[in-house]
């Protein structure tokens, strides 16, 4: 493995290219017509235009990306996150072309991509799962299952993901009304109208475990990330360790994550998501078969470069670290700086960044593909930069994040910087007492922010 095609854009493409350079690997960027001047195009040794601005014509265009790999003689593909990262057919197509796929096998992607299959796998692995329908259900069966597990319940699209295709029903009448609607929506959005049902846990936290596996049978965890600060199911702030996890629960959760990854014959980087309720009970939700946006949080507290490990194990090398050597040191927080206006319902705010001053100093990391003069295109997600800060403890990490946010200047567009400054002054956040509905409830109480 010598030349890696990075099938992505933005900060994650720049992140992967950095890892390639450190490992002495050449990199190939792909880009859409809207990204001609993007940072990842400048940073890679070679760059190939794969189509028009819309992702479906470029970053999701499997044929164009494979052609770019052939043209440049790339021998590996790193998919980043989003776009084709969890597309089993793309992973299989790469394998068929003798390209090293920097990720888990297409079989593991497929098994975990189907939420019903993933749940059954977790059950077989002995991991706790949320009481629910154990598979796709008809409308009539949905009502029976809901009666048995108790309301409120969540209706989920079997083919959904990333928080899409999920609806909550508080009682029988609501469920009866929503089931038909949800099936039609899932059919339109994912081409598959299958639904399943889950009990809705109230005031639960989203805690996820990072795992890494190689093809020599080594499988390790790198502790947890707490990701409960979400708006419309999109994460805005993540931290490690979770303020809500005691040693005993942490051990049980990381062990469950390893059992699930083991059952899936998992290789490369993956994340197992759990819901943690107020009593310390946790339940498997899903596994993400890719590197995550919030991976730097784990890198800061463990000192492990996850992207370099991904590249190493994809090339057939063993993991460079053993489980016993993975420690969790201090605390790290990531805030997502999005091109959105928090004063106007987080309305997207693309356009030219006329001025940019990045924070620095001890314990501060910024992952971004932005620069002064960069035009944030309207076609892709709104993430402009990730600010990640480390401290010896959580309060130092919070103080650093606040300080770094105060130094952080993005001129020309609106960003979520003011929102994060407010958030990191909120007594509940400072106390680590929050859950997945926290932002919605806070917005309802104040009449602004996350509405």
């Amino acid at each position: 493995m010598q030349k890696v095609l990075v099938a992505n854009r933005g900060e994650i493409a720049a992140r992967v290219i950095r890892a390639c350079r450190e490992l002495g690997l050449a990199s190939v960027a792909v880009y859409s017509e809207a990204d001609e001047n993007a940072l990842h195009v400048q940073r890679a040794e070679e760059a190939v235009c794969v189509g028009p601005p819309h992702a479906r014509d470029s970053y999701l265009n499997i044929e164009a990306i494979l052609t770019a790999a052939r043209q440049t003689g790339a021998d590996a593909v790193h998919p980043g996150y989003g776009f084709l990262a969890e597309n089993a057919s793309f992973a299989a197509a790469c394998r068929d072309e003798d390209l090293v796929w920097v990720g888990p096998s297409p079989e593991a992607i497929e098994a975990m991509g189907d939420k019903v299959q993933a749940r059954q796998l977790a059950v077989r692995a002995g991991a706790p799962t949320i009481p629910g329908s154990d598979g796709a259900v008809s409308r009539e069966r949905a009502l029976e299952v809901a009666e048995a597990i108790g309301y409120p319940v969540l209706i989920k699209a079997a083919a959904g993901g990333g928080g899409r295709g999920i609806r909550a029903a508080g009682d029988q009448a609501e469920l009866a009304e929503l089931v038909g609607q949800a099936a039609a929506e899932a059919e339109a959005a994912f081409g598959d109208g299958s639904l399943y049902l889950e009990k809705l846990l109230v005031d639960a936290r989203h805690v996820e475990v990072q795992v890494l596996g190689d093809m020599h049978g080594n499988l390790i965890h790198l502790f947890e990330r707490e990701c409960s600060i979400q708006r419309r199911r999109q994460k805005l702030l993540e931290e490690s360790p979770s303020p809500a996890l005691g040693d005993e629960t942490r051990a049980a959760m990381t062990n469950a994550a390893l059992q699930i990854a083991q059952a899936a014959d998992y290789e490369n980087a993956g994340t197992i998501e759990f819901l943690l309720d107020g009593d310390g009970a946790f339940y498997f939700i899903e596994m993400n078969t890719r590197i995550q946006v919030e991976h730097p949080v784990t890198e800061f507290v463990t000192g492990v470069d996850l992207v370099k490990e991904q590249l190493r194990v994809a090339a057939g090398e063993p993991l460079s670290i053993e489980q016993e050597k993975v420690g969790l040191s201090g605390a790290a927080i990531e805030v997502r700086i999005n091109a959105e206006d928090p004063e106007r319902s987080f309305m997207p705010s693309p356009g030219e960044i006329t001025g940019l001053a990045l924070p620095g100093g001890p314990g501060v990391r910024v992952d971004t593909a932005a620069f002064a003069g960069y035009n944030v295109p309207p076609f892709y997600d709104s993430l402009v930069a990730k600010l990640i800060c480390w401290g010896r403890d959580r309060s130092e990490a919070i103080a650093r994040t606040r300080r770094a946010l105060e130094e952080f200047v993005v001129d020309g567009i609106h960003t979520t910087i003011p929102f994060h400054l407010e958030l990191l002054a909120d007594p509940s956040v400072l106390a680590g007492e929050y859950h997945v509905e926290f932002l919605e409830q806070r917005a309802a109480a104040s009449g602004r922010i996350a509405t």
């Binding site: 059919e187 339109a188 997207p348 693309p350 309207p378 076609f379």
Partner: protein
């Protein structure tokens, strides 16, 4: 009198809520202020375009799935 309905945001203009549904409005339809007449996709999110006046849809000034700028005229609206 003829006026225009503008896109509040830059992005991709769509005439339907999803590819399997009917368009929100057709030429000749009557709308009242606040009616949804289209969608703009921007940064993976969808935003409704509302008519800010009552009237009749005279014609579309952009094609379905065309790129539009913020403030760009989308629909010509005839009102009394």
């Amino acid at each position: 009198m003829e006026q225009t309905i503008k896109s509040p945001l830059p992005g991709t203009f769509y005439r339907r809520p999803d590819p399997h549904s009917e368009p929100y409005v057709q030429e000749g339809d009557t709308v009242t202020a606040g009616d949804v007449v289209g969608l703009v996709e921007i940064m993976k999110t969808f935003h409704e375009i509302h008519s800010d006046a009552a009237g009749r849809i005279a014609r579309f000034l952009v094609e379905n799935s065309a790129l539009v700028d913020a403030g760009q005229d989308i629909i010509a609206l005839e009102s009394d």
